[in-house]
Amino acid sequence: MLGLNKADLRLYLIVLGMLIFAPFIMNPFPEGSGLAQFNGGYPDLLQKLVIFGIFAVGFNILFGLTGYLSFGHAAFLGVGSYAGVWMMKLLTMNVVPALIISVLTAGLLSVIIGYVSLRRSGIYFSILTLAFAQMCYSLAYSVLTPITGGETGLTLSLNDPRVLGTSQTAEGNIPVPHFFGLEMNASSTLELGAWSFTFNTGYYFCAVVMAVAFYFAIRLFRSPFGLMLRAVKSNQARMSYTGLNARPYTLAAFVISGMYAGLAGGLMVAMDPLAGAERMIWTASGEVVLMAILGGVGTLIGPILGAGVIKYLESIISTINSTILHQWFAFLPDGLEDFVVAIIYPFVGKGWHLTLGIVFMLVVIFLPGGIVEGGKRIGNLFRRKRREETPPSSTTTPAPKPGE
């Protein structure tokens, strides 16, 4: 089916299902209840989850397969964003040309950076990519301000010379990015009792792109090319003894993963047409590393989960303030309420970085394989229990494949 084996197909269908029903899955709590704070089913967050998922999937193609740890992937995302906005300023508000140019520009940059950086391996490779990305960020923030908008970011304006399309709408506003007429910010709301679900065109556009990108990633993982990349990771020296030159393979992986980053950057500006320089800073590159590791490096679904968890926590925890905390714990007696709030307060709102740091440490210390490994452990726990209850059957669990 689609050239996928059974397990992969199941995984792919699960991801498709998650993408389609995300507006429901992410909005489990009724409107107006105390827990509505934890609802994440609004367009901005859903789009972010998918976009960073694509970014992390692409990063995983490089890091997960070849083991080369790039600390500069945010640069490709940023360059893709800038290219996308320029396309919208100059050509058309249709997002398709913007996405194409984003991917191509990021690909071009990754060819250059990859060609140079891949001459070294290990931590030296990491530092080289970090150095290139920091150069991109510093220049974009300062001397390249005419091209990048600098500190403010590159935005659309009312007098952009848009060749195919209008500079402003009839009402005198900046036109909205669209996909052949489908406006990205259009939303519909479905009210079901106390629940309210929002369906956003932009989100579903991202979801379709994600579905395609994820399919491509699965095929790549299972292809002979993917096997070759794993060989690079496990033993590059032995590979070269067999007469194979690893460089073209790693460079190809680097460029593909850079193009994924560019695609993510292009989608970001398609959803919200502004490209800021901060998305290229080294901590942004660090963030995608964290996403991959948190989810599970080298697994197909891990990076998506990691990206989801980090972006969700960022959006939800940072908006919790002391008033909300007091509302939650209002049922406690006064003294106890203040005490509980005082304990939790340093970890939410402005303290969400602290929570993030602690979560990372805990995951890296206790769950080196990330969420995927955690899921497997829990799964094994249940399976063992069931096996104790039922007599052993003839079905055997297939040996875990690398990259599952």
């Binding site: 931590i123 030296y124 970090l130 150095a131 300062s142 440490m361 080196p368």
Partner: protein, 343 residues
């Protein structure tokens, strides 16, 4: 000519800070094989030891002064530090004035404890884990440490002045036969430079001339063999971690009068000192020091307006540019050894 000499001095000064941090980083690389992203945070904590001591010395009780009013029109509460109350106004004020040098004494045991706690409590469990895991867990630790500092001290920089005796500039040029006032350099920056030289010298001497240092150097070269010889190398490595923490912490303490400390100064220095270590060569102590000074000086030169006019933006990227060039021409950095950190 004077301008160039001044820039060299600036570079050496910047380089001292880079070298001190990079020295600790590379020491940990070389001995423990651990990539420690929390090293910048140790530098930051050192600076905040000085801030804390300053605050402790300034602990005050309030006296109500009826003659003055505060911003709400109530009688003003005047703060009198306990130190001034106990030791008399003059001695007390002098103690507060010298809080930064005093902080050195306080910082050594504190930093050693923090270093040991970090190594025993966390890093120890990561010796056998991939470098990516080490980077991540120490990165997480760095975030946690800086957020804790922020929770207590806020986000804005906190002024921590040098003793009055070191305020002002020294006419360095006159000694070497320049015009008077041509090359003026602030006393405290000269002190910082001298201090860095002493600390670096002490670390080298310790490794070179003591049995302990000899074993550690042997361990750096071939950990397994040393272990087979029946030497408990782990315990010594813990000590090395503590020493690295002390070096970075002292660098932080002494830097406070130059740069008002804030919670993210560690992260700001981390990437730079990382580049310094890699340019110098992983695990090479001499390389780290040399690269620290080299990058400091180059950065200063790139900041001159004549250079910026020639190549716009060069002051933004010079460090990274140098790193790229060095790594491409000398694969293991300036003084790196083969086989370190290449997997």
């Amino acid at each position: 000519m004077e301008a160039i000499i001044l820039q060299i001095l600036n570079g050496l000064d910047k380089g001292s800070a880079y070298a001190l941090i990079a020295l600790g980083l590379t020491l940990i690389f070389g001995t423990l094989g651990v990539v420690n992203f929390a090293h910048g945070a140790i530098f930051m904590i050192g600076a905040f030891v000085a801030v804390t001591l300053n605050r402790v010395l300034n602990l005050s009780f309030s006296v109500i002064d009826e003659t003055r009013t505060d911003f709400l029109g109530n009688p003003m509460q005047v703060q009198v530090p306990y130190v001034e109350h106990w030791f008399g106004t003059q001695t007390g004020a002098a103690i507060i004035d010298w809080s930064v040098p005093l902080a050195i004494i306080v910082a050594i045991p504190i930093m050693a404890l923090i270093g040991i706690a970090m190594e025993r409590g966390l890093i120890k469990h990561f010796y056998k884990r991939p470098h990516a895991d080490q980077i991540l867990v120490t990165f997480g630790l760095a975030i946690v440490l800086q957020e804790i500092i922020k929770a207590f001290y806020g986000a804005n920089p906190i002024p921590t002045p040098a003793p009055d005796a070191f305020v002002g500039s020294f006419d360095l040029g006159q000694i070497f036969g320049f015009e008077p006032f041509a090359i003026m350099y602030p006393y405290w920056r000269l002190v910082y430079f001298a201090f860095a030289a002493v600390v670096i010298g002490a670390v080298f001497a310790f490794l070179q001339f003591t049995t302990f240092g000899m074993v550690v150097r042997a361990g750096m070269a071939d950990r397994e063999t040393v272990g087979i010889l029946g030497i408990d190398i782990d315990k010594r490595f813990t000590t090395m971690f503590a020493i690295a923490a002390i070096v970075a912490g002292l660098a932080g303490v002494m830097y406070t009068p130059i740069l008002s400390p804030n919670y993210h100064m560690g992260m700001d220095f981390l990437v730079l000192s990382f580049v310094v270590v890699v340019v110098g060569g992983m695990g090479s102590l001499g390389g780290a020091v040399a690269a620290g000074f080299l990058l400091g000086v180059l950065q200063s030169f790139a900041s001159m307006s004549q250079v910026i006019d020639l190549i716009p933006g060069i002051n933004q990227v010079i460090i990274y540019l140098v790193a790229i060039i060095v790594l491409l021409t000398r694969p293991r950095g300036l003084m790196g050894r083969k086989g370190v950190m290449e997997d």
